[in-house]
């Protein structure tokens, strides 16, 4: 694939990517720095008094909460305030980016400019996917650094490798979402339609995961959700990745990008 195709697309996407990176990193820093205020407070007791469904919705395991009077664990705090929704945030970025990646170029007619040159259509799709991969990698690194800085500001230390593993899971889930949004972009060549379908699917995955966690009788339903494999608190506590998720997310992303390239290769580019 032409490196220039990737470089120019990275350049064109730089401000949007920067906005997401700075925004999410700033949020990560604030959450981590706030731990100073809640760490000493008997925050665990407050959480324990909430309904189990709500605790589960926060991404926490009600049984893993600390006993009354003990310091609230930093991994629980980071999970409930940042990491529980981090894959959704990366996923929304994926929907916004992926749905417009090809369709917006068609709508702006810049697709004609590139495709009237000797460039295989698949290269163009792969370049767009790689731009997202690079952006999400920077997003994860910046968020990790911001969390580390925030915890340092809160006077706390944490096992950073575990933190980065949790962020890696969030990023992989986001890549899968970005992948299928890119597919919809190639399928519809309409940013609006692709964003609507990609967004609805993502919300559906999130809702299914949430409901399956809170209603035990339909817990099995969670298996169809991309968010099902993501358990930040467990990764933060044990440093163990969910290998099913680690296999499924990239597989979904790669298959979606391959289907996007194949779809784009075959379809008419209408004006």
């Amino acid at each position: 694939m032409s490196g220039h195709l990737l470089r120019v697309n990275l350049y064109l996407h730089r401000w949007t990517a920067l906005a997401w990176i700075v925004g999410l990193a700033a949020m990560a820093f604030m959450v981590a720095a706030l731990y100073r205020s809640v760490g000493a407070f008997d925050y665990g007791q407050f959480i324990k008094n909430l309904p189990n469904a709500l605790i589960a919705a926060m991404g926490l395991d009600p049984k893993a909460l600390p006993p009354a009077g003990s310091r609230y664990p930093v991994e629980s705090w980071l999970t409930q305030e940042f990491l529980s929704w981090a894959p959704l945030a990366v996923g929304i970025y994926g929907v916004v980016y992926g749905s417009g990646a090809i369709a917006r170029e068609a709508e702006n007619r810049t697709l004609d400019l590139v495709l009237s040159h000797p460039v295989p259509r698949a290269w163009f799709v792969v370049a767009k996917a790689l731009v997202f991969l690079v952006s999400v990698t920077l997003l994860v690194v910046a968020s990790g650094v911001a969390l580390q800085a925030g915890l340092a500001a809160a006077g706390t230390t944490f096992h950073m490798a575990n933190l980065y593993l949790a962020l890696l899971e969030a990023a992989l889930a986001g890549l899968a979402i970005g992948g299928y949004s890119l597919l919809f972009s190639c399928l519809f060549l309409s940013t609006g339609k692709a964003a609507a379908v990609g967004g609805l699917l993502t919300v559906a995955f999130y809702a299914i995961d949430l409901v399956s966690r809170t209603v035990a009788s339909i817990g099995w339903l969670g298996n169809v959700s991309l968010f099902h494999f993501y358990r930040a608190e467990r990764v933060l506590s044990t440093g163990h990745l969910d290998w099913t998720g680690v296999a499924v997310w990239p597989l979904v992303a790669v298959c979606a990008v391959a289907c996007a390239a194949a779809t784009f290769q075959r379809r008419d580019i209408l004006v």
């Binding site: 195709l5 810049t110 004609d112 400019l113 009237s116």
Partner: protein
């Protein structure tokens, strides 16, 4: 060895849902000629061009460019073709130089110098961000993009749209040089004088069908222009009876004439008459090409 045609379509058809955009187009453009592709909006000109560039796929038939199949050899074709779309769209955050460098890399490099040379000739500042360019400047950039690789085939969709007359003349000069170099030019335009000036042959498309292919010289003889003359005093109808002139309306001191072909005889006759004023507009596409063909060749 006989060179394969620059463009050849056989029974080329394209349907969008219920709309038949192209129907059985059989067209041959020889290498080295400047071919005008004319027709009203929605006639199928852009559809044809997009099929040639493999941006859309035909529903039926086939198309070849420079002897290569449009679908199978799409990449090889695009290496040898320069294309200017009807509405030039470019990446506005880039500078002119940045965009040319990017597109040069996509072609494998080596033609940026030619791009700079053309920019100088067309007085286009490549150091500025494209977002700051006017419509005419974007059009110039589009032309440079098409011409930069010294292609074997140039496909130009209304190349002088939005350009001032001086730049238009420069574009005609460049196209003339390209033809001398052996480049084939496939030229879509609505401006009749431009077509007459630049093209060797024209093809006229209507409702997705090719209704005529003519030499430009032949079309000149078939040209219809409407002349309205006012006289200081009444003039008999017979005074305007000339070969190639049809008196469409005669109202004492005012006459409306349809003028076919050359006008010297008419001008000589008018000089002998008490002419007060006259209006002789440039023949439009509708007045000549389309009107002529609509009566003779139904799609």
């Amino acid at each position: 060895m006989i060179a394969s045609p620059a463009i050849q379509t056989v029974d080329l058809s394209k349907r969008y849902g219920s709309v038949q955009a192209l129907e059985g187009l059989n067209l041959t453009v020889q290498q080295g000629e400047v071919f005008g592709f004319l027709g009203p909006n929605g006639a199928g000109k852009t559809t044809t061009i997009r099929v040639l560039l493999d941006l859309i796929r035909p529903s039926r038939g086939r198309a070849a460019v420079l002897g290569l199949d449009c679908r199978r050899d799409s990449l090889a074709i695009r290496r040898r073709v320069g294309y200017l779309p009807g509405d030039v769209a470019v990446y506005r955050p880039l500078t002119g130089e940045g965009l040319l460098a990017f597109l040069d890399h996509l072609r494998g490099g080596g033609c940026l110098g030619r791009g700079r040379e053309l920019a100088e000739r067309l007085d286009l500042d490549l150091s500025r961000q494209i977002g700051e360019y006017s419509t005419g400047m974007v059009q110039k950039l589009g032309l440079i993009i098409a011409l930069m690789p010294r292609p074997d085939l140039l496909i130009l969709d209304e190349p002088t749209k939005g350009l001032d007359p001086l730049v238009q003349v420069e574009i005609y000069n460049i196209l003339s040089e390209e033809r001398d170099r052996g480049c084939t030019v496939f030229f879509s335009s609505h401006i009749l004088p431009e077509v007459e000036r630049v093209c060797d042959r024209v093809g006229i498309l209507r409702q997705g069908r090719l209704v005529a292919v003519e030499d430009v010289q032949a079309i000149r003889h078939k040209r219809v222009r409407i002349l309205t003359v006012s006289f200081r005093q009444p003039v008999p109808r017979e005074a305007l009876r000339l070969e190639g002139i049809e008196v469409r309306q005669m109202d004492g001191r005012q006459a409306t004439l349809a003028v076919y072909g050359h006008v010297p005889d008419l001008l000589r006759r008018l000089a002998e008459l008490p002419v007060e004023d006259f209006v002789f507009p440039e023949a439009t596409l509708e007045d000549t090409f389309m009107k002529f063909y609509s009566g003779e060749t139904e799609p």
